[in-house]
Symmetry: C2
Subunit: 193 residues, 2 copies
DNA sequence: TGTATTACTTGATCCAGATCAACGGGCAGT
DNA sequence: ACTGCCCGTTGATCTGGATCAAGTAATACA
């Protein structure tokens, strides 16, 4: 359970055995079955969650009832409604499991306490958030600047695993496209553009 | 020059006078005149920049030559091509000044060194990036989920200062709209929807 | 203080991608 | 093995916002 976690943390900061065991104490383990919810829109998001096994999705449902994917998180990724978690406001995202999953959860209070006890973890999360921000910034520009086909090709190149692992209709939603549109785009690409 | 800077840092972490003077030594001050560039697409972004006075914009230019705004930064905000800065890759954004501006620049090497000497700054940047990430995540969903009019109204409510301070055609670009579209939207709103 | 350049508006037309509709194929549960 | 249904495909049509075009107001600059 913690193996995947430590191997990820150790890529960014070093930890003693002592620190590792302190670290563990701030987390709670949770299993989630396929289709089970970790968070529902309207609640306050209490946890930052590390995925040690499985696959989760985070998505928003608009007034018309349409789903809009925010992100997918599998082994080695964190997920949360980070806005809700940070500012203690109502969540805008739902998070549920696309596959049976194993998680490590930490509350905001524990995160604060943990980083005070082990300041290196501020560095870990600083780097984590910095990298996520960088990626999200590029995705936002891509979303405003490119055609549907260009966006799909960019995604396929930058994140081929997502395309293998996540159903096509959810990929469409992630790109802000109708499922029919993505289907047609893939057909065109297969026919040599 | 550093007054605005310290007042912002102190909102998130406390600092001794000693630490303040150490902190200062890692930054370089820079003035930028209106229309002058801080960064051009294709370079590597060497600095994370704090705006102590003025207004900058960060934007991407696509193959057709169209500009797509990424963000605006005024007093108390940071700007950078964070992807380029973090991963030492070619910048995708241009950054230039919309008003005469005063900046504090820090290199990646100095940022790393500074956070090692003053670990509290890891916490400062952890919180900064966490908040930016939260905001960007919401903006991305908004961009994929709402109509042009809804996006404008949301922006006007959540960030009225931006609308006052930034020219309308740049706001349009920030929202991923043609300037004509935003003009019409504002007209409709003025006419009572 | 005049003129040039840039910002904003308004109208007419166009198009990428959404929506609606119908069908086939795979796989999940009994 | 059967059946139900979810998922992807394909076709036909519609539409929000882009694009093209022209005029007007505002700001800068000399």
């Amino acid at each position: 359970m913690f193996d995947v976690f430590f191997s990820h943390v150790l890529k960014k900061v070093s930890l003693t055995e002592e620190e590792k065991s302190v670290l563990k104490s701030f987390f709670v383990a949770k299993n989630l079955q396929k289709k089970e919810f970790l968070l529902q829109e309207g609640e306050v998001c209490k946890y930052l969650s590390f995925v040690s096994k499985g696959l989760l999705r985070s998505y928003h449902i608009d007034e018309k009832g349409d789903e809009h994917m925010n992100l997918f998180a599998w082994e080695g990724w964190w997920t949360s409604d980070i806005y809700s978690f940070s500012f203690n406001e109502t969540a805008q995202f739902n998070i549920d499991a696309l596959e049976d999953s194993e998680l490590l959860l930490i509350t905001r209070e524990n995160l604060d306490e943990m980083t005070l006890q082990i300041p290196k973890m501020d560095r870990y999360f600083r780097i984590l958030f910095q990298n996520s921000l960088a990626t999200k910034e590029r995705r936002l520009v891509s979303s405003n600047s490119y055609t549907a086909k260009e966006k799909y090709i960019q995604l396929a190149e930058s994140n081929p695993q997502m395309i293998q692992r996540v159903p096509q209709n959810l990929i469409a939603s992630y790109l802000g496209l109708a499922p029919e549109t993505l289907s047609r785009i893939k057909k065109n690409i297969a026919l040599g553009k």
